[in-house]
């Protein structure tokens, strides 16, 4: 079982799989996002409360969900890399961080654009926005820590440890902000309950979420190829790999 595991995590294998998967993932992501865009922007009816403003959900929510998913992927890869000393884990974590950070920025900016017409302000100390901001800080911390080390191996391991510490902290931060908000009773928040959504609104959302996931997978493959190359020392397979 373990030999299988290590073969799966071997750099040439990962590089090859990432290179092969990349285009398929991009194709699938384009299809899913294309359907989501058309159905979400043109076909879905306006929300009875929010009018057409609700259409921002189709980029805001997938961005926000992905920023968390990517962090989880990063932390899981980091934990695997730390525990079993599997270098590909560090490569996955390093490849995920900038993508996740960009999704966190997307969620924050679109969130505040959505907040303006709905809450009358670009920024509210809403639990979800606040936790998202903290999440962005964590991403920035992990990325800066990794790049601050001159020895990439130590940078990898330090960043991995921080990612794992952060993943323990994210739920605590979220929970504490929720508690804090209930104390302060800030701006009234218009919530869209996903289960109550009619299908014509929900399907485009699910499709967009899938598209974002596939897009993350595709970009992750590209970055993973680069990170694996940067970490590789046995040149034998690299010569073959970079020719193509």
């Amino acid at each position: 079982m373990w030999t299988w595991f290590y073969k799966l995590a071997s750099p040439p294998y990962v590089y090859g799989v990432a290179a092969a998967l990349r285009l398929w993932l991009f194709g699938a992501a384009a299809l899913a996002m294309g359907y989501g865009l058309i159905a979400g922007l043109a076909i879905a009816p306006p929300d009875y409360q929010q009018g057409d403003a609700f259409r921002m959900i189709y980029v805001h929510v997938p961005g926000a969900i992905l920023s968390l998913t990517v962090y989880t992927v990063m932390a899981a890869a980091s934990a695997v890399a730390l525990i079993w000393r599997i270098k590909v884990g560090h490569a996955v974590a390093a490849a995920s961080a900038p993508i996740g950070a960009s999704f966190a920025i997307l969620a924050l900016v679109t969130g505040s654009l959505w907040g303006k017409p709905m809450w009358g302000t670009y920024w509210a100390w809403d639990p979800r926005l606040t936790s998202e901001l903290i999440l962005l800080f964590l991403y920035v911390g992990v990325m800066s820590l990794r790049s601050a080390f001159e020895d990439p191996l130590r940078g990898d391991r330090a960043a991995a440890l921080l990612a794992v510490v952060g993943v323990v902290n994210v739920p605590i931060v979220h929970f504490s902000v929720v508690w804090w908000n209930s104390l302060h009773q800030g701006a009234t928040i218009v919530r869209i309950g996903a289960p109550k959504m009619p299908g014509s609104m929900l399907w485009p959302l699910l499709s967009m979420w899938l598209g974002f996931m596939l897009f993350f997978g595709a970009v992750l493959c590209m970055r993973l190829q680069a990170e694996v190359l940067n970490r590789e020392r046995q040149a034998s397979w690299v010569r073959e790999a970079i020719k193509s």
């Binding site: 001159e150 020895d151 990439p152 191996l153 020392r233």
Partner: protein, 209 residues
């Protein structure tokens, strides 16, 4: 002191620092009553090797074993039997020489101030015992760090450039200490540029890039 029959062994140790392959499969076996003299030009990984043997640095490939056991599995026991003197004297400048010794040696074994003073006396810096390390000269600091190694009464000595900053008489002292340690049944790994000029058996390990 209890010295076991089988000594310290490291096998095919590989370490990379960034893109640099610092240690490329270094192996050696040092038994009690033996001294390994590690030499080589600057940047060939002498200090890195010493840090690997001490257990501070885990090699990417290869193993270090003590009494036939991997040092990662019995780390604290191994390190309790170890005295490491790094290239810098590792003294707190705000503490006096004897306090420095007390806080370092006291973690390895119970010591009395008398033991520590005796060690300082052996390395010729008993007069500096109550002075803060800040005011000591580089040579005196080196002697205090040697006294720390001595006072630990460890079976394994790892010394990184013990002659640095020492005068001729000081170098003589280093040789005497090493000789006495080896004759009592200890083993030592010494990184040094110069010849050690010892009468006890000396094995050599030359590192090159």
């Amino acid at each position: 002191m209890n010295f076991a029959s089988d000594g310290l062994e490291f096998e095919k140790v590989h370490v990379w620092r960034g893109d640099r392959h610092v240690l490329q499969g270094i192996s050696a076996h040092v038994r009690p009553r033996e001294l390994l003299h590690i030499s080589g030009a600057n940047g060939t990984g002498k200090t890195t090797l010493l840090r690997v043997v001490s257990g501070l640095l885990r090699p990417e490939q290869g193993s270090v074993t003590w009494l036939g056991q991997s040092i990662t599995s019995s780390r604290t026991e191994y390190q309790a039997a170890l005295a490491y003197a790094s290239h810098e004297p590792a003294l707190k400048s705000d503490l006096t020489a004897i306090e420095n010794l007390r806080f370092a040696v006291g973690l390895k074994r119970r010591v009395t101030p008398k033991d520590l003073l005796a060690a300082l006396d052996r390395t010729g810096v008993a007069a500096c015992a109550e002075l803060p390390a800040r005011v000591l000269s580089a040579g005196q600091r080196r002697r205090v760090s040697l006294a720390r190694v001595l006072a630990m009464r460890a079976s394994i000595w790892l010394l990184d450039e013990p002659h640095a900053n020492l005068d001729a008489e000081g170098s003589e002292l280093v040789s005497e200490l090493l000789q006495a340690h080896v004759q009592e049944g200890g083993l030592a790994l010494v990184v040094a540029h110069r010849d050690l000029a010892l009468s006890c058996p000396v094995r050599r390990l030359e590192l090159n890039s």
